[in-house]
């Protein structure tokens, strides 16, 4: 076990630990019946938002490309997975959920990944704000296309109530959700700490230098589009199975922005812990502050502007330095270094 732990990055280990803790907490709350009705309804959304946030962080924080199309990939996954589940349940009424739900997740993810690659290829031609607009447009197109597909329920919505018949949906779905989120988090973090993850971060930090190092920049960009879309699709399948009616209008610009705010709030980059915590907090907040629900998007937008200003304005560098608690980190590193030096001296003396 210790050997296993030494092989994974410490920050990733902490992220995993937090994830396991969150799911254990959810499970206990549901099992003991301690969860309020309100809390119960929040549990599955929290899990799929965690997955959405880490997959978008892969795109925005690790690859460095701003995408506003995450809700679009999510909807592709949701419709694919739910359609499959409905078909399976209709034709094989005895099929247990632990068969069709994982199949639905995988297929929903793969379909979303396919769309990710299809969007990723033309998106190679644009960057920055323009890419954000392209992905946003994609999201809107998907929405419109689905509304016009009658076999997916059209404007009325796609009925998914019969797939998960259980009345205590949260408890039924939680093991699947926990499994999907933890496995996805492990896969994403593993990727980031590999040769491929380093190549992706190199593209983010300096595209020209990455090319000069022999990195196929276009390949990695499209790959990340596909991978991030895959996990967004899996999250979409969870969303669809938790809901009773899929409406394509829910997967809109606002939803993409919400996910983006989670990523920005949690801190973009190779550390996924921030995204996890921000996803949980931001899913809980609107429920808790229900009275302010009219102002939710307004509050989000203001938050986003403040964060962007705060993290980029040169005039605020001093405040950032103080708030980032770097001095604590420095003190700790110094302590550790001193302790190490002491130990080294001791062993030297002993050798003498």
């Amino acid at each position: 076990m210790k050997k296993f732990l030494s092989k994974i990055n410490r920050r990733d280990a902490l992220t995993l630990l937090v994830l396991v803790g969150i799911f254990a907490f959810f499970f206990i709350m549901l099992q003991t019946g301690a969860a309020s009705h309100q809390f119960k309804n929040m549990i599955i959304p929290m899990t799929y938002y965690i997955l959405l946030a880490i997959s978008l962080n892969l795109m925005v924080g690790v690859l460095g490309e701003l995408s506003l199309g995450h809700a679009g990939f999510m909807s592709v996954g949701a419709y694919t997975g739910c359609f499959l589940s409905v078909m399976l349940v209709e034709h094989f009424p005895d099929l247990p959920m632990f068969v069709y739900l994982p199949v639905a997740m995988l297929c929903g993810g793969l379909m979303a990944a396919l769309f990710g690659v299809i969007i990723g290829i033309p998106a190679l031609r644009v960057k920055g704000d323009y890419l954000a607009i392209v992905t946003l447009a994609f999201c809107e197109i998907i929405k419109t296309v689905i509304i016009n597909l009658d076999f997916l329920g059209g404007a009325i919505g796609f009925d998914t109530d019969k797939i998960v018949p259980d009345r205590n949906k949260a408890l039924t779905l939680l093991p699947y959700a926990a499994f999907a989120v933890i496995v996805s988090a492990i896969l994403i973090m593993n990727l980031v700490r590999s040769k491929h993850g380093r190549a992706i971060m190199a593209v983010r930090d300096n595209r020209i230098a990455a090319e000069a190092c022999g990195i196929n920049v276009n390949f990695y960009k499209v790959a990340v589009f596909g991978i991030a879309a895959f996990f967004a699709g899996v999250a979409g399948v969870l969303y669809g199975h938790n809901d009773v009616l899929l409406k394509s209008s829910t997967f809109d610009f606002n939803m993409s922005i919400e996910i983006l705010i989670m990523v920005v709030l949690g801190g973009m980059g190779s550390n996924m812990l921030g995204s996890v915590i921000a996803a949980v907090v931001m899913t809980a907040l609107p429920e808790i502050l229900r009275d302010f629900s009219d102002y939710r998007m307004l509050i989000y937008s203001v938050m986003l502007i403040v964060i962007m200003l705060f993290t980029s304005a040169p005039a605020l560098a001093g405040i950032r330095e103080r708030l980032s608690l770097n001095f604590i980190k420095d003190a700790v590193t110094k302590r550790i270094a001193a302790a190490k030096a002491k130990k080294a001296n001791k062993t030297k003396e002993e050798q003498k």
Binding site: K7, L187, N190, L191, S194, K195, H196, G197, R198, A199, M201, A202, R204, D205, N206, I208, A209, A210, E211, A212, C213, G214, I215, N216, V217, G269
Partner: protein, 289 residues
């Protein structure tokens, strides 16, 4: 410079005429050139930024490319690495043309470079910067990375060890875990060289490696450049304004002015070349002198 032989008479204007292998260190005699550039040129609108650029570089040669500001030196590097598509001419690396290849493919063929305006992966550690350079020489596919199969651990261990080994050229192992963006200027330049070396090139292009370095750092860099050539057995082409460094380490030098090669030769020949002195000091000043 006694270990070299002048193959062609080098004097004034007759030096441009091809074949251009003006100088070959004796140890490379009889070997095919690693880099063979013929009549390379590029126009930016009406500006002939580089014209009729012809050089050959033998497999373990250290050569220099000098010239006044705006002469087109960096543009030559951008042409050699396919950042720019040449308007005229051809580049042969080990006999293979690089035309039509992408920047990344040219690197994989064996040309690595550093940048005049430093381009590091600032948010990544020094170690990871070097490992990015090793990407194409690290065998680890997506499945192995996602699932941490044994191949992943093997590749990670190998790349970490190799990266530390490379960092030791400039005694930078102790800085392996600092963010590249936080390194002092000189160290950033050295890291760029190591990262380029990590791609296992046949030809290493250094664009003003000593810029911003103090004299003692520059002196150490000269030693390192020779050490790199000896240890890796590769050719090095460097652009530099610091004449002590150029004259100190380069075996052959080409001088560029307004996009044209005005002289090629050994350091001693270049030092005394009329055209070069004129290009650097200007006609008037020379008359006064």
């Amino acid at each position: 410079m006694s270990d070299r032989k002048t193959v062609m008479s080098v004097n004034g204007t007759e030096m441009f005429s091809p074949p251009s292998n003006i100088l070959i260190p004796t140890r490379d005699e009889g070997k095919k050139p690693v880099l063979d550039v013929r009549g390379l040129g590029i126009d930016f609108g009406g500006l002939r930024a580089v014209d009729e650029f012809t050089i050959t570089v033998s497999p373990t040669e250290i050569s220099g490319l000098i010239g006044p500001n705006g002469a087109g030196k960096t543009t030559v590097f951008n042409l050699l690495t396919n950042v720019y598509k040449p308007t005229r001419g051809a580049i042969l690396l080990d006999g293979h043309p690089t035309a039509g290849k992408s920047v990344a493919q040219v690197n994989r063929m064996g040309i690595a470079r550093t940048f005049q305006n430093i381009r590091l992966f600032d948010q990544m550690t020094v170690l990871d910067n070097v490992r990015v350079g090793m990407s194409n020489n690290t065998r680890c596919n997506f499945a192995e990375s996602f699932l941490r199969l044994p191949g992943y651990f093997k590749a990670e261990k190998r790349s970490r060890e190799r990266a530390l080994e490379l960092l030791s050229i400039f005694n930078m192992e102790s800085e392996a875990y600092t963010l590249a963006g936080n390194l002092p200027y000189g160290a950033q330049r050295r890291l760029e060289i190591i990262r380029a070396l990590a791609t296992e090139p046949k030809v290493l292009l250094l664009d003003e490696p000593a810029a911003g370095m103090n004299p003692s750092e520059t002196h150490a860099l000269m030693e390192s450049i020779r050490q790199i050539r000896d240890q890796f057995g590769i050719a090095i082409v460097l652009i530099e304004h610091d004449m002590n460094l150029v004259m100190g380490v380069c075996e052959g030098i080409a001088v560029l002015n307004f996009g044209k090669v005005i002289a090629k030769g050994t350091p001693d020949q270049i030092k005394n070349n009329e055209a070069v002195i004129e290009a650097y000091l200007g006609r008037q000043e020379k008359k006064e002198a």
